[in-house]
């Protein structure tokens, strides 16, 4: 752990006093890669070959996630499987549009995942708003709120496209290019400011450990 002075505590200003003691106020800290290069490469290979996807349908694109497990597409053979709890999963798929209400849940789930963690944006809506470009309740760029490692664009992308996206993600992880977890920690204040700008009723701690 790094010295606490380098990472001052979070204000948690939006919590009511009775709840403040229930939540952690420590800032997130970046994780260090393994000191030995060979070990880090091996770890990346392992991470790439065991992608546990958070089974959280954030939008219409979630309908494309379910067929992945069926006989036709069989994502199991790439080491992809669904986990029902954010604690144990390492990939979150932002499937399609996300309304402000969903964004809050996405952030909570994302922050509860343990690093290294990866985010896959599915569908044009997560990229630039897509057909919801003028919606009062749909955010346009998900990468302003959580760090995205890979986009699969389309409306809707078919499961084949999603599968290709997963394979691309695996290649990126193996190459050690997916540093979203540390980017989020590094630009934490920027991300948090963006999140609080759109989420009006912020009634949770600043970082959901």
């Amino acid at each position: 752990m790094t010295d606490k002075n380098d990472y001052p505590t979070l204000a948690n200003a939006d919590l009511i006093d009775a709840e403040r003691s229930l939540f952690c106020d420590a800032r997130p800290v970046p994780y260090e890669p393994y000191p030995v290069d060979f070990v880090e490469k091996f770890a990346n290979w392992v991470r790439a070959n065991s992608l546990w996807v958070l089974a959280f349908g954030t939008g219409c694109g979630a309908i494309e996630l379910n067929p992945l497990m069926t006989s036709r597409f069989d994502a199991n053979r790439y080491g992809i499987q669904m986990r029902p709890t954010p604690r144990q999963s390492c990939v979150i798929v932002v499937a399609g549009y996300s309304s402000v209400k969903t964004l809050k849940r996405i952030i909570r789930s994302y922050e509860q995942m343990q690093g290294p963690k990866f985010v896959l944006g599915l569908g044009i809506c997560s990229l630039n708003g897509g057909m919801y470009w003028d919606s009062y309740n749909t955010i346009k760029r998900i990468d302003q709120y959580i760090p995205i490692d890979l986009y699969v664009t389309g409306c809707m992308p078919r499961p084949e496209a999603l599968l290709a996206g997963f394979i691309e993600l695996k290649d990126k992880i193996k190459a050690g290019q997916c540093d979203g977890t540390n980017r989020y920690v590094k630009d934490f204040d920027w991300y948090k400011a963006n999140q609080k700008k759109v989420i009006k009723n912020w009634d949770m701690p600043d970082y959901n450990w």
């Binding site: 065991s50 053979r77 080491g79 986990r83 144990q88």
Partner: protein, 306 residues
């Protein structure tokens, strides 16, 4: 002194073998199911990668001391169960710490891991974990009843509580197996085994689509990798225990693999055919006919067979 050092060395060899075997068995079943469904399925080495993956997570949040200790207790339960079970009969390397009274210790260790886990996940503070513990412990208490009755019948039948001696008494002919000398006890114990295996219809505590996913909800990173390892070791130890008690033990590695695989398939086939019980249905089921079969097996062996 030397004998203890070599025994401990052999024990860790056994742990390694059972761990690898348990993981491969799980992967093999998953692969078989995938083939039945017309899929390619996971690679056979996927469970090893999964364990390494959870182990190479670089962040792990803790919820407190008991939370940290929970998976350790769980793993200790699995290791303890295995420690007193002779894996292969008549082989010094694979006999572990089997001694008089070890069956009682083993039954205790089967409980021990679950209780430690209950304490650990209780501290995680997640409501699903608490619900999963309640369901799991209720179900465990229920299936322990027919299992214990079956074990009592075995105590009476062989007049010993040493697993090695129980296996020794079953050698010679296939008709010496408990399966044929005391079929009622085997039936009761195999029904209890369905509950232990946590496959449908008795997987309400752990099923991902019931309460995601029960006690381990909050466990992650290296905590989870310990639990994954325990899952393999514990499953292997239970299979070997049942093989020893009821199916004549094993005198060689191939016999061991074949018999444990066959016992495992019982749970798989039943799970493939029956839908999930709710907790109170499972409790009522175990305390009904299986318990009566267990009592009948005790009475049969006490008053009829001798």
């Amino acid at each position: 002194m030397d004998i203890w050092i070599s025994k401990i060395g052999y024990y860790f060899l056994n742990v390694g073998i059972v761990l690898v075997y348990g993981l491969l068995l799980g992967a093999f079943i998953a692969k078989t199911m995938a083939r039945v469904q017309g899929r390619i399925g996971i690679p056979i080495y996927q469970p090893f990668i999964d364990i390494l993956k959870t182990f190479t997570k670089r962040q792990a949040i803790s919820h407190g001391i008991m939370f940290n200790l929970g998976p350790a207790f769980r793993l200790a339960g699995g290791l303890g169960t295995l420690a007193f079970i002779p894996v292969i009969y008549g082989n010094e390397m694979f006999s572990n710490f089997s001694a008089a009274g070890d069956l009682l210790l083993v039954m205790y260790f089967i409980f021990f891991g679950q209780l430690g886990m209950a304490l650990g996940s209780g501290e995680s503070g997640h409501p699903y974990a608490a619900m999963g513990i309640g369901r799991g412990l209720a179900q465990m208490t229920a299936y322990e009843v027919p299992f214990t009755l079956a074990v009592v019948a075995i105590f009476i039948q062989y007049d010993t509580s040493s697993i090695t001696e129980i296996v020794a008494a079953q050698q010679g002919s296939i008709w010496n197996w408990t399966l044929f000398t005391n079929p009622l006890a085997v039936i009761a114990a195999m029904i209890a085994f369905l509950g232990m295996a946590a496959y449908p219809p008795f997987d309400v505590a752990m099923a991902p689509n019931e309460i995601p996913i029960g006690p381990p909800t909050e466990f992650h990173s290296h905590f989870l990798s310990m639990m994954q390892m325990n899952r393999a070791i514990f499953a292997g130890a239970k299979l070997i225990l049942f093989m020893n008690l009821f199916f004549g033990g094993a005198t060689g590695l191939i016999e061991l693999v074949f018999k444990t695989w066959a016992i495992y398939m019982v749970a798989i086939l039943v799970g493939a055919a029956f839908p999930r019980f709710r907790t109170e249905q499972a409790v009522r089921f175990f305390l009904g006919v299986p318990m009566l079969i267990g009592i009948a097996s005790v009475l049969y062996i006490q008053y009829w067979a001798q």
